[in-house]
C-alpha cells in the first residue's frame, strides 16, 4: 500500500508555525486534521502541496515530493482550498478542466460523482457555497492525483451539504488518500479513519475516533467536553 510520510517544520520569519510535525498515512485512508484556530492546520496543508516551502521532507513511496516541479508533484498530490465564492465567471466544465492532467473523460466522471454534470454549462459564480465546494472537489478529483488535501471542506455549509461532501470523501478514500482539515469535530469523528490533533504547531494527539478522550480536547480547546456514544458513533458535546 502506498504510504505518505511527512516530517516538516515551518516558520514565518522568527515565528514558528509548525514544529517537527511528523506523521504518516496510507492510501485508502481518510485522515482528519483537527485543532483550534491558529494551530497550523492550514499551514500544514499548504506546506504539503507546495504553496509554502517548509523544512523537512514529504515523501510518497520514498519519492520526495518537495523535490518535484509543480507539474510533476500534481500527479501525486492536490489541494482543495477553503471555499469562497469565485469572482471569475467560468462555466463549471471550464473550471473543472483546469488541472494539469485532466482529460474530458475525467471531467465527466468527476462532475457525475458530485452530481453537477447536468449543470456543467452553468457559471461557477452562480453556485451556492456548497455547490462551489463540490465543484472544487470535482476539479481536484478530475486531475487524478493520488492524495487529495482539503482545507475545511464543510465550513460555512449547511448540514445537508456537509454530509453530502463527507459521503463523497468516504467513497473516494477507496482509491485515494484523503486528508482534510476539519473544524466540525463530530463530522471528523464520524467519517475519519484516523485523526491528528494539532495544537500550537505540534501534534498533540493522534488516533482513531473511539480513542479520543475529553481530557485531550479540554487541554487543547480549553472547553469542558463530553464524548458520548450514540449508535456506535462518537459525539462531542461541549459541557456548558
Amino acid at each position: 500500500m502506498r504510504e505518505l510520510s511527512v516530517m516538516v517544520s515551518f516558520s514565518y520569519g522568527e515565528k514558528k508555525v509548525l514544529e517537527n510535525v511528523s506523521f504518516s498515512a496510507k492510501k485508502g485512508e481518510l485522515l482528519s486534521i483537527i485543532g483550534p484556530n491558529g494551530a497550523g492546520k492550514s499551514t500544514l496543508l499548504k506546506c504539503m502541496v507546495g504553496i509554502l516551502k517548509p523544512k523537512g521532507r514529504i515523501e510518497f513511496d520514498s519519492i520526495n515530493l518537495m523535490d518535484l516541479k509543480p507539474k510533476d508533484r500534481a500527479k501525486f498530490i492536490t489541494y482543495v482550498p477553503q471555499s469562497s465564492v469565485s469572482e471569475f465567471a467560468f462555466t463549471i466544465q471550464e473550471f473543472v478542466e483546469m488541472g494539469a492532467y485532466t482529460t474530458r473523460g475525467d471531467v465527466e466522471r468527476a462532475l457525475r460523482k458530485v452530481n453537477l454534470w447536468n449543470r456543467r454549462r452553468e457559471l461557477v459564480t452562480n453556485l451556492s457555497g456548497g455547490e462551489y465546494q463540490l465543484a472544487l472537489i470535482a476539479r481536484a478529483l478530475a486531475q487524478g492525483s493520488e492524495i487529495i488535501l482539503l482545507d475545511e471542506p464543510t465550513s460555512n455549509l449547511d448540514i445537508n451539504h456537509s454530509l453530502k461532501i463527507m459521503e463523497i470523501l468516504s467513497e473516494l478514500k477507496g482509491e485515494k488518500l484523503i486528508i482534510a482539515v476539519m473544524h466540525d469535530l463530530n463530522l471528523a469523528l464520524r467519517y475519519s479513519d484516523r485523526l491528528i490533533l494539532l495544537s500550537k504547531g505540534r501534534i498533540e494527539w493522534e488516533g482513531s475516533s473511539n480513542e479520543l478522550k475529553p481530557e485531550i480536547l479540554e487541554k487543547v480547546y480549553h472547553v469542558k467536553a463530553k464524548i458520548v456514544e450514540i449508535e456506535g458513533n462518537s459525539l462531542v458535546l461541549a459541557d456548558i
Partner: protein
C-alpha cells in the same frame, strides 16, 4: 470561434475605412489597390503603376496606412498586455501600466526631449524596461513575486516617476513641448520602422500568451493553482516579462495611451467570459479596433488640427468604465 472571426472582419474593415478617411477622402477601392500595390512592391514584384495616381499612393502607403496599422498594433499590444495584467493581478481592474512602464517611459521621454530630442522613443523604451526591473526587484521576496507587493510597488513607483516628469516639464519649458504632446499619445508621423518594431513585439508577445492560455486561467486563482500543476512563480515572472515587452514597445512608438489596455479585456469578458482561450484574442482584436477608431477621432474631430489620441481614449474610456463599474456593483455582470 465565429465571434472571433467577426472581430477579425471588423478589424480589417475598420483599418481600410480609417485609411480612406482624412483631409483628402480616398475611395475604398483605391485604398485597397494602393495597399495591394504597396505590398507587391515591397515583396519585389510590383513594377506596374498602382493605377490610383501617385498622390493617392503616397498618402495611403507612406502616411495613412502605417499610421493606422501602428494604431491597430499598439491597441492590440496594450489590450493583450492588459488581459495578461488582469490575470497576473487576479484583478479585472488592473492595466498594463501598473508595473511602472508608463511612469518610466514618461521620464525617459521628458529627459530625451531636453537633451536628445531625436531619441525620444529609444529613451522611453529603455526607461520603461528599467522601471519594470526596479519595480520587480523591489517586490521580490525570497525569489517569489507576491502580486500585492508588486501592485503597491508599481503604484509607488508611478507617483515617484510622475514627480520627476513634472519637474522635467517645469525646468524644460519650451524644449519639452514635443514630449508633452507625446506623453498624451499620438500616432502622428508613424513610420514603417515603428510598424515593423511593434509588429514583432506584439506578434511574439501575443503568441506566447495564447499558447499559455491555460496558465493564464490558472493564474487567476493565485498560489493555489500550484495544486493544479502550475509553476506559479515561473509563470508570474514570464508574464511580467511579456507584459513589459508588449507595453514598452507600444509606448516607445506612440506615447502613453490609457484605457485601451484596461477596457478591452473588461468589455470582452462580458461577451466571451474569463477563459483566456477566447478572451485573449477577442480582447487583442477589440483593442486594435478601438485604437483605430480613437485615432480616427483624434484626426478628424477638430480638423486640420489633431487631438492627442490619449485624450480621446480617456474621454470615451472613462465614462464607459464607470458604466461597467456600476453594472458590476449591481451584480449585473461578473468578472
Amino acid at each position: 470561434m465565429k465571434r472571433i472571426l467577426a472581430l477579425c472582419i471588423i478589424s480589417a474593415f475598420l483599418i481600410i475605412s480609417a485609411v480612406s478617411i482624412g483631409s483628402v477622402s480616398v475611395p475604398l477601392i483605391k485604398v485597397l489597390q494602393s495597399i495591394i500595390y504597396g505590398i507587391k512592391m515591397n515583396l519585389g514584384f510590383g513594377a506596374k503603376s498602382p493605377g490610383t495616381g501617385d498622390t493617392y499612393f503616397t498618402i495611403i502607403w507612406d502616411i495613412r496606412f502605417p499610421r493606422v496599422l501602428l494604431a491597430y498594433l499598439v491597441g492590440f499590444s496594450l489590450a493583450s498586455a492588459g488581459t495578461a495584467s488582469q490575470a497576473l493581478f487576479k484583478n479585472p481592474l488592473a492595466d498594463p501600466y501598473i508595473l511602472g512602464i508608463s511612469g518610466g517611459a514618461s521620464v525617459g521621454a521628458a529627459l530625451a526631449a531636453i537633451y536628445f530630442p531625436k531619441y525620444m522613443g529609444m529613451f522611453a523604451l529603455i526607461f520603461a524596461l528599467a522601471s519594470v526591473y526596479v519595480v520587480y526587484t523591489i517586490s521580490k521576496v525570497d525569489g517569489h513575486i507576491p502580486v500585492d507587493t508588486l501592485l503597491l510597488a508599481g503604484i509607488a513607483f508611478g507617483f515617484f516617476s510622475s514627480a520627476i516628469t513634472s519637474y522635467l516639464v517645469y525646468v524644460g519649458r519650451e524644449k519639452i513641448h514635443n514630449a508633452i504632446f507625446w506623453l498624451m499619445g499620438t500616432f502622428n508621423g508613424a513610420l514603417w520602422t515603428d510598424v515593423k518594431l511593434v509588429f514583432l513585439s506584439s506578434f511574439t508577445g501575443f503568441l506566447f500568451l495564447i499558447l499559455r492560455w491555460k496558465e493564464l486561467n490558472l493564474l487567476l486563482f493565485g498560489e493555489e493553482s500550484i495544486a493544479l500543476g502550475l509553476d506559479v512563480s515561473f509563470y508570474r515572472k514570464a508574464i511580467i516579462f511579456v507584459i513589459s515587452l508588449l507595453t514598452a514597445f507600444a509606448v516607445s512608438t506612440s506615447g502613453i495611451i490609457g484605457f485601451v489596455g484596461l477596457i478591452s479585456p473588461h468589455a470582452m469578458r462580458i461577451i466571451f467570459g474569463p477563459n483566456h482561450k477566447r478572451l485573449l484574442p477577442a480582447s487583442a482584436l477589440f483593442g486594435g479596433s478601438l485604437m483605430v477608431m480613437a485615432d480616427l477621432f483624434a484626426r478628424i474631430l477638430i480638423k486640420p488640427q489633431e487631438i492627442p489620441v490619449g485624450i480621446v481614449t480617456a474621454v470615451f474610456g472613462a465614462p464607459f468604465f464607470i458604466y461597467l463599474l456600476t453594472k458590476r456593483k449591481r451584480g449585473e455582470i461578473y468578472a
